[in-house]
Structure formats: structure tokens, C-alpha cells
């Protein structure tokens, strides 16, 4: 056998470049296969690890496409949709809910434009209860502290917990005091001007009454997102309880899907009920009964936010409103009574960061960092234009969008233990802080839930969907998320596997071609071997062996390429996949010995298969024709 090997090996050496290229071809095909199988194995493991690392089993989000939701659930990226944070209270009422935690995820684009910081606004207590695996690391580390003697910041070596969680603190909404005594609470996001008809005036020239207009200052305020509620009742009398305790009794009529009307029967004045910009919660009490004596099917109304006119409740997007200065109370100096509780330059937001965020950002406990949050703002600009008809210059006003940066100072108060998940690269701040600085007033991207009994998930899901007041919510179990992602990846995998399959077929044809060529080139030699005693079997064996050697060497080369290039392959797949959405945090290309051994033997099988035909051709050559005709 070793003699055959020697002979085969020497033959391959004869055309070094050709053999090398063929081996390379097989190598690439095998490398692709090894990587794909490695990816196949690794992706599932990484995904499973991510899913089990979530801590909660169910996620409630705003309605969206399932894959997007999965992406948001696992990676915190994708196009975001929001829930209002009172959904938490409502979901908590469900008997099956054991624990839950509200979350607001917000990606913050890095200043250099490369990637983003993933910020999570969380409620520390419920979050750490549901996700005990997310905890403060403990190790030898340096902390930046204030030296009590010199008053200077110094780095101190400490062996122990790496800081702490952020302290819970109150984050006040902005407030606008209305003349009617109500307070509009929300998030002030801009200022503008507003023109309103203020009255009528007699025009001395024409002698007619004309409207006088007055410009008011307007303040844009973000109110909690309103949910589209569906009114199922045609008409009913009921009581609306406002958050501040006052009640409105009246007849409720459906105007359309998104609007209903309460006609105040008690004749209370406009002033009294005009809670134009109130964030009070309207609630239809249980005593609500239908006018016709029937029952109410599915009560809505609980999320109504604005009362435009007396008795009118409208539920609508978008959620920024402008309050004009004529509605706002003024103090003794004539200033508008508005409280803007925006964090100032000096206020510092406590942040707990993931292990990798600390490593890559060279951050340690006690250190401060400033981040700029980009916002789009509208600005009115005046422009001179020449009228094409009259040829006259005209001044027009145009609204343009420009980006505004708000700088915030964060102080790292804790560093998390490495968990091998997306948490490692995340930044955690108090939920209200996140809602404030990312301008997502009272909004959430999701609520993580742990059920008492996971088996009752379908019932829980049904109940959530049946509660109209929850609006457009979606319940996703992480098992589903996993399934969705695996499904998606499966489709991609089938595609990629077909590519690998084609690569293998091409390699097979390549090998066959190479060997056939070398067989034809050596026709005479084969004839000679037959003349000096080689049987068909001997020749077959020799040629077959050559093919198998090529493929075995290709197999070894391919495995080496895959294993040693594994980190690059990982990076490549990660890069491609992250473009499409979620990629698990753990290693996604994982080579098991089975894969490597399997692929190596696969390459040999490739050799066995592709060698048969050329070997048969060689073996069946008649000696005489091979010798005489091979010229």
C-alpha cells in the first residue's frame, strides 16, 4: 500500500500547480462546509443561551412583525414601537403574572457614527428580581474616588464588588400650569409660536368688523402615548373619574372607532371640565350602564388622555401637543408658569454598565462620561424668493429640520459581571431617566413577565388580547421568539447550504476533471504498467488513491482554514447577520470534533466518489492501445 501511496503521491507532485489548485478547491469547499456546520451548531447554542439568559419567559410589546419583536426581545435593536407604562399596572392585575419588569431600550448612535450604545431604562428592583443573572461584578479593580484630603479624583485599587446599582430617585415630569387650575404633566420638547383669533375690531376704514389675531407663545409637550381604543358601546350613560378625583357624569356616545363623546348632563361648565392638556386618566366606572338597558361589551376609555371640548374624548397620535400661552397661568411678574425639570449641565445620571462596555470604553467605577443625544428639531427660517410671475421679491417662511444635541453626563456607578450575552455591552439607567433623556415620556419598549405557570401562557395571551384597553399589544413567549429566529435562520441556512452543496459539486467536478486529465496525459504510462503486470484493479486502485489523496489533503486544508480562520468567519457571519437584525451574543460558529472529523471524512468520500469515473476510465484502457495510441 505504501508503494501505491508513494506512486500516487509522486504523480500528484508531477503537476504541482494543478494539484495545488485542485486541493485548494476542495479545501475551500470543505472550509465552507465546516464553517456552515459550525455555524449551525454554534448558532443554536448561542441562541439558546441568550433565551435562557433572559430570565423572563414572556415579553409584552407593542404590536409588530414577529421577527422584529424577536430582534427587539433578544438584541434590543430593530425598529422600535412603544407601550405606555400604565400597561404594566394593567398586566400586573392578571392572576397568572408572577413577576414583571418594564423596560425601555434605546440605542444611542455613537458620536463617530460606528455602532451605538444600547441603553436600557429599567426598574432596578423588579429587573434584578426577574433577571438575577445580571449582577454587579466582583473582582480586583480600580475605582475613581474623591480623595477626602486633597479633594482630587484618584484611582484606588479595590478588591470586591465593582460598584453598585444606581440609586432610585424621583424624576419629575415637566409641568405646565393652566389657567383653569389643571397641571399638564409631560415632557417639554420645544417651543413655538401660535396665531389665534383674539377678538373682533371695527375697521375704521371699511367700517366693518374684522378678526384680530394675536400671536401666542406655544410650548410643545409630550404626553403619554395614547392608545387607540375601540368603543364597543353605541351609547351609554356613565361616570368618568378623572385621576384627580373629579367625576363627570354623562352620556357616552360613539363617534367613530377612535373617538367617543361624553355629553355632560349636569350642565357643568366648560371651564370646569376642560382638561385640555391633562394627563389625567379617564375611567369608565363599573356602574356604567347602557341607555337601552343592555350590557356593555368590552369597556374601553381607560386610556383617554385629552378632552378637547366639553365631553369629547379623543384618542390620537402623535403625542406631542402645543399649549398656547393664553391657556397658561402667569405668575406675578407675568411669566408663564411652566416647570421644566430638565436635568441641567451639573446633574449626573447614574449608569451601570456591562462588562464589555467597561472594557471597550476603558471605563471604571466612579468615572464620568458625557454622551450627546441627537434629536431632530424643527426650525422656522425666513427665505427670500423671487416670484416667477410678478418678478417681485417675496419673503417666505419655511420649516426645516435640524439636529440638536443634548449632552448628558453619566457616572458609572457599577460594572456588571460578564454574562456572555448582549447585556455585556449594554448601559443600564433608571427607567424614568431613560424616558426623560431619550424623550420617550411614559413609554416602554417591552415588559418582561414571569408567569406562575408557563403552561397557562395561551390563556394569559388570550386575556391580554381581549383586554381592549391594552390597545395594540403583542405577547411573545421567548420559546416563540426562539422558534421564529430559528425558522428564519433555517431558511437562510437552506440557501447557504445549497451554496455549500454547489461548492461541493464544483469541487467534485474539479477533482474529476483534474484526475481525468492526468489519466489521459499518462495513457502511455498506464499502458506500460499494464504491460509489466498491472491489472485493471491495480490501475483502478492507483488512480482512485490519487483522487482520495487530493481530497484528503483538501479536507485537511479546509478544516485548517475553517478552524484557524474561525474568528474571521465568525466576524463575517456576524457582520452579515447584524445587518439583517439579531445575532446571538455568544460564539455563533462552534466547531465540534464531530464536525471536523465528519467533514474530513466527507472530503474523503468526495474523493472516493469523484475518483470512480477517472479510475474506471484508466483501468479499462487496453494496454496495447494505451501504449501505441497514447502518442
Amino acid at each position: 500500500m505504501s508503494k501505491y501511496l508513494n506512486l500516487a503521491y509522486k504523480n500528484l507532485q508531477r503537476r504541482k500547480i494543478r494539484s495545488f489548485l485542485t486541493i485548494g478547491g476542495v479545501g475551500v469547499a470543505v472550509a465552507v462546509l465546516v464553517s456552515l456546520l459550525g455555524f449551525n451548531a454554534g448558532y443554536r447554542i448561542a441562541l439558546e443561551k441568550d433565551v435562557s439568559g433572559m430570565g423572563y419567559q414572556v415579553l409584552v410589546t407593542a404590536k409588530g412583525c414577529p421577527y422584529e419583536l424577536a430582534t427587539v426581545a433578544l438584541a434590543g435593536t430593530g425598529s422600535l414601537r412603544y407601550l405606555t407604562d400604565d400597561t404594566v399596572v394593567k398586566i400586573k392585575q392578571d392572576k397568572e403574572v408572577s413577576e414583571l419588569t418594564p423596560m425601555l431600550m434605546n440605542p444611542l448612535i455613537k458620536e463617530d457614527g460606528n455602532g451605538f450604545y444600547t441603553f436600557w431604562g429599567i426598574d432596578k428592583d423588579s429587573y434584578t428580581k426577574l433577571r438575577p443573572m445580571v449582577k454587579i461584578a466582583s473582582d480586583k479593580h480600580k475605582e475613581r474616588i474623591l480623595d477626602p484630603v486633597t479633594g482630587q479624583e484618584v484611582d484606588k485599587e479595590i478588591d470586591g464588588p465593582m460598584g453598585r446599582w444606581f440609586n432610585a430617585h424621583e424624576v419629575k415630569p415637566d409641568e405646565i400650569y393652566l389657567k383653569n387650575g389643571r397641571v399638564v404633566k409631560g415632557l417639554i420638547v420645544g417651543e413655538g409660536e401660535y396665531e389665534k383669533v383674539s377678538g373682533q375690531e371695527l375697521d375704521p376704514v371699511s367700517g366693518e368688523y374684522i378678526e384680530t389675531k394675536k400671536t401666542f407663545k406655544s410650548i410643545k409637550i409630550m404626553l403619554p402615548s395614547r392608545i387607540y381604543n375601540k368603543v364597543e358601546v353605541e351609547s351609554a350613560t356613565g361616570v368618568l373619574t378623572l385621576k384627580d378625583g373629579s367625576k363627570i357624569k354623562g352620556e357616552i356616545t360613539k363617534v367613530d372607532e377612535n373617538m367617543f363623546k361624553i355629553v355632560n348632563k349636569d350642565g357643568q361648565g366648560v371651564e370646569q371640565i376642560n382638561t385640555y392638556y391633562s394627563d389625567n386618566v379617564l375611567k369608565v366606572e363599573d356602574e356604567l350602564s347602557l341607555k337601552d338597558g343592555g350590557e356593555v361589551t368590552g369597556v374601553i376609555l381607560s386610556e383617554a388622555q385629552d378632552i378637547y371640548n366639553i365631553g369629547d374624548v379623543e384618542l390620537a397620535y402623535p403625542n406631542t401637543e402645543e399649549v398656547t400661552s393664553d391657556l397658561i397661568e402667569t405668575d406675578s411678574q407675568g411669566n408663564l408658569k411652566v416647570m421644566n425639570n430638565k436635568p441641567d449641565e451639573k446633574s449626573v445620571i447614574e449608569v451601570v454598565i456591562g462588562w464589555e462596555a467597561a472594557q471597550t470604553g476603558f471605563l471604571q467605577v466612579g468615572q464620568k462620561m458625557t454622551l450627546k443625544v441627537k434629536e431632530m428639531a424643527k426650525e422656522k427660517v425666513k427665505q427670500n424668493l423671487t416670484d416667477p410671475v410678478s418678478g417681485q421679491e417675496k419673503e417666505i417662511e419655511k420649516e426645516i429640520e435640524k439636529s440638536v444635541f443634548n449632552a448628558y453626563t453619566f457616572k458609572v456607578v457599577g460594572i456588571l459581571e460578564r454574562g456572555g450575552s448582549k447585556d455585556d455591552g449594554s448601559y443600564f439607567i433608571q427607567l424614568e431617566d431613560a424616558q426623560r433623556i431619550f424623550r420617550k415620556y411614559k413609554m416602554l419598549t417591552g415588559i418582561g413577565i414571569k408567569l406562575n405557570d408557563l403552561a397557562k401562557l395561551p390563556m394569559f395571551t388570550d386575556r391580554v388580547y381581549n383586554r381592549k384597553e391594552l390597545g395594540e399589544t403583542q405577547v411573545v413567549s421567548l420559546a416563540e421568539v426562539k422558534g421564529t429566529i430559528l425558522n428564519l435562520v433555517q431558511t437562510a441556512k437552506i440557501l447557504v447550504m445549497s451554496v455549500a452543496f454547489i461548492a461541493i459539486i464544483v469541487a467534485l467536478i474539479g477533482v474529476m476533471n483534474t484526475i481525468l486529465m492526468s489519466v489521459f496525459e499518462r495513457t502511455k504510462e498506464i499502458g506500460i504498467m499494464k504491460a509489466i503486470g498491472a491489472s485493471r484493479k491495480d490501475i483502478f486502485k492507483l488512480i482512485w488513491l490519487e483522487t482520495i489523496i487530493i481530497c484528503a489533503l483538501g479536507g485537511i486544508a479546509g478544516t485548517f482554514i475553517a478552524v484557524f480562520g474561525g474568528t474571521y468567519i465568525e466576524k463575517l457571519i456576524r457582520g452579515v447577520m447584524s445587518r439583517a437584525g439579531y445575532v446571538p451574543a455568544g460564539q455563533i460558529v462552534h466547531f465540534t470534533p464531530q464536525i471536523i472529523i465528519g467533514c474530513f471524512f466527507g472530503a474523503i468520500i468526495l474523493g472516493v466518489l469523484s475518483g470512480i469515473w477517472p479510475a474506471l476510465r484508466a483501468a479499462s484502457m487496453r494496454p496495447i492501445e494505451a501504449i501505441r495510441g497514447g502518442e
Binding site: 508513494n6 506512486l7 504510462e525 506500460i528 509489466i532 487496453r622 494496454p623
Partner: protein
């Protein structure tokens, strides 16, 4: 006692061509005894190579009978022929036909590989020494002269200790000096080992060194006097 190692009767090889049948050999009767040194001569196209190929079991016979070492082979097909060839026959060609990737020694050893015989390096070296190439055993064919290559080929043919050595114009590619040397070597081997030798040659001088000459013309054996070569 002189045994008959090759015996043919009415040996025919007919090539079926589009233009019609071509009888390369048209009824050849030969008897060659053990230890005989026979030369085959004849004009180009007379069927010398064809005859040698048939005697050497390299090709299938169209009709007639052929006994090699007392065994009838005329009915045998390729897979049978190879066994007879392996056991009894050594070949030498005009173009030497060494395997270019193998050294002289490896070329000589090659037949053992196919015969499933145990390795026998000492015999291979002995044979190379016998043909006067003791100093060249690890050379690749391209580093050897024509005469040397032919001697390697002779050593290779002898490796399996065949009873019969068939040589098709073994000196055809060599100059007269080397031709003479090779021919003498064959003659010596024939004498020393009692090896039956059938050699095709165009060279009458060399042919005359043989025990006898078989003249071929148009696929048939003709008497010496009738051969055009003789005149």
C-alpha cells in the same frame, strides 16, 4: 532438453477498419524453444509488433491458437492475459517507457507491486548492477542516457524472473555503439539465465547475432530467401 515455450498455429490478428478488414497477422505458425534467442525481422508494417504483442499476451487474438508455457491463451481476455503476462513475460520497448517520476531503482521494483510479490530491493539492486548501472540506481530517467534507460528497462523486465523476454526494437532509439552493447547484454542474459528471447529488429547485423531469424511480410512468415531485407 529443449521445451517449447511459445507455440502458435494459424495466428491471426485482424483489425476491423472502416475501409475494410486489415489482417496485421494472417496465419502465423511459430515454435520457440526455451533458451532460444529469436530475432523477428521484416519491413515496416509487416506485423512484427503485432506478433510480439500477441506473443506477449498484450492483445487479444482474432483467431488461431497460441500456447504460452504450454497453456492455451487464444481465448483469454484482458483480465486473464494479465496473469499470464505477469508470470511469464518481460517486455522491453523501443522507447524504454520508464515511469518518469520514479528513480531507476523504483522503476525496476515496480512490477513486484503489481504482482503482489514481497518487496525485494536487493534483487532490484542486483539487476541494476547486472546491467551495469550500479552507480545510477537513484537517478530519475531524465538524468539517464538512452542506453542507460534501456538497461533500466531490461532490469525491470527481469524483475519478476520471467521465462520469456520480448523486445520490440530495443535498440531502435540508440546509436550503433549502444545498440551493440544492449544486444550483447540481451545475448548474455539469454545465455546465463537460459532466458527465451524474442527480439524485433531492423538491424541485420544484430539479427545475425540471434539463434535464428523469423522473417515476416504482410502478416505472414516467409523463408529467409524471399525476404526483401535479405537482398
Amino acid at each position: 532438453m529443449l521445451n517449447i515455450v511459445i507455440k502458435s498455429q494459424g495466428l491471426k490478428k485482424i483489425y476491423r477498419l472502416p475501409a475494410g478488414d486489415l489482417a496485421a497477422l494472417n496465419g502465423v505458425d511459430v515454435e520457440i524453444k526455451q533458451g532460444e534467442f529469436v530475432a523477428i525481422m521484416g519491413p515496416s508494417g509487416s506485423g512484427k509488433t503485432t506478433l510480439l504483442d500477441l506473443l506477449g499476451c498484450l492483445d487479444e487474438i482474432t483467431s488461431g491458437s497460441l500456447e504460452i508455457m504450454g497453456k492455451e491463451v487464444s481465448e483469454a481476455r484482458e483480465n486473464k492475459l494479465v496473469l499470464i503476462r505477469r508470470k511469464n513475460i518481460g517486455f522491453i520497448f523501443q522507447e524504454f517507457f520508464l515511469i518518469p517520476t520514479l528513480t531507476a531503482l523504483e522503476n525496476v521494483e515496480l512490477p513486484l507491486l503489481f504482482d503482489k510479490l514481497p518487496e525485494n530491493r536487493s534483487r532490484a539492486i542486483e539487476l541494476l548492477e547486472r546491467v551495469g548501472l550500479a552507480a545510477r540506481i537513484n537517478h530519475l530517467p531524465k538524468k539517464l542516457s538512452g542506453g542507460e534507460q534501456q538497461r533500466v528497462a531490461i532490469a525491470r523486465a527481469l524483475m519478476t524472473s520471467p521465462k520469456i523476454l520480448l523486445a520490440d526494437e530495443p535498440t531502435g532509439n540508440l546509436d550503433s555503439k549502444n545498440s551493440k552493447l544492449i544486444f550483447n547484454l540481451l545475448r548474455e542474459l539469454n545465455k546465463e539465465e537460459n532466458l527465451t528471447m524474442v527480439v524485433v529488429t531492423h538491424n541485420m547485423e544484430l539479427g545475425n547475432l540471434a539463434d535464428r531469424i523469423i522473417f515476416l511480410q504482410d502478416g505472414k512468415i516467409i523463408p529467409k530467401e524471399e525476404s526483401s531485407l535479405y537482398h
